[in-house]
Symmetry: C2
Amino acid sequence: MPAPERTSLEAIVAAASDILEASGLDAVTMQAVAARVGVKAPSLYKRVADREALVRLVADTATERLATALERPTTLAEAARAFRAFAREHPRSFQLIFSASADPEILARASAPVLRIARDLAGEGDALNAARLLTAWAVGFVQMELAGAFQLGGELDEAFEYGLRGVERAITPR
Amino acid sequence: MPAPERTSLEAIVAAASDILEASGLDAVTMQAVAARVGVKAPSLYKRVADREALVRLVADTATERLATALERPTTLAEAARAFRAFAREHPRSFQLIFSASADPEILARASAPVLRIARDLAGEGDALNAARLLTAWAVGFVQMELAGAFQLGGELDEAFEYGLRGVERAITPR
DNA sequence: ACCTGAACACCGTTCAAGT
DNA sequence: ACCTGAACACCGTTCAAGT
């Protein structure tokens, strides 16, 4: 006898993402997610292999949102600022993206705009190395900012703009 | 009636660190740590407030080891390579250091050598900004390397050396 | 003074039984 | 076909009782 579906994979992932941002990864329990979509925990296993797979899906959708946020900018400065803005708006999603390694295909989507900007500045031959320098700096800066690891005072906004100028100089051929 | 001590805080933190590196943070359970020091889980609460405090202690000791590894190098290139070597030797400790924010005092110890190198290259006025650019790049690069996020091919060693030259150029006044 | 067994709350996961 | 209650294993934590 058929039974109507009372939820969906999209709703489950959205619920998990909401809980992640509101309360942290530890709060993303199968029971909390289930309750939010109006179902009991065991039902989640109809759409998701286990909690780890669900968290992975959350990371993938977050990576997709980041990729979308990076599509619009055209300059290095715009891209870096958009990247930092994303991390500040969705700090826990950001940390999840760069701790759990995301799906390679989605990662490639997020990398494409950075690679294009790097190529424009550094030239074809150094494009990949330049993109990695730029990405590493941006990831590290935002990560340390979110972790509260920059504690020696000084202006973080100023440090970010200084870094931005430095990275641009680093990848621009002399 | 007095009872002899069968373990110590140091032994507990060391056991937790070993389990972390061997099997990951999820494997650092109170029971696993207790078993390794030859005691039952409830006994750990005589020396440690709770699991979170224990993990924090593990992060702090790892940060201290990192600080020690950064004391010897004198140049930017040496420091960066020592940093990367530490991360590859203790990947899970490294990730713990930069996700859970460590103790400010210990963080300051690890920052000191970086700040000195940055000052030598960038000068007094830009020392802090330069240290932050350098640190952000190194943290981000190693983090992405460990997470397997650099997937577009190319040589990672080469990307690291390219980044190193770029960062040095970025923080050296023209 | 430290250690432990027992207990409790909570979580992930499975599965037979419902509809 | 999907949903759920019941059950199991496992974990963190507390505490009275041991020595």
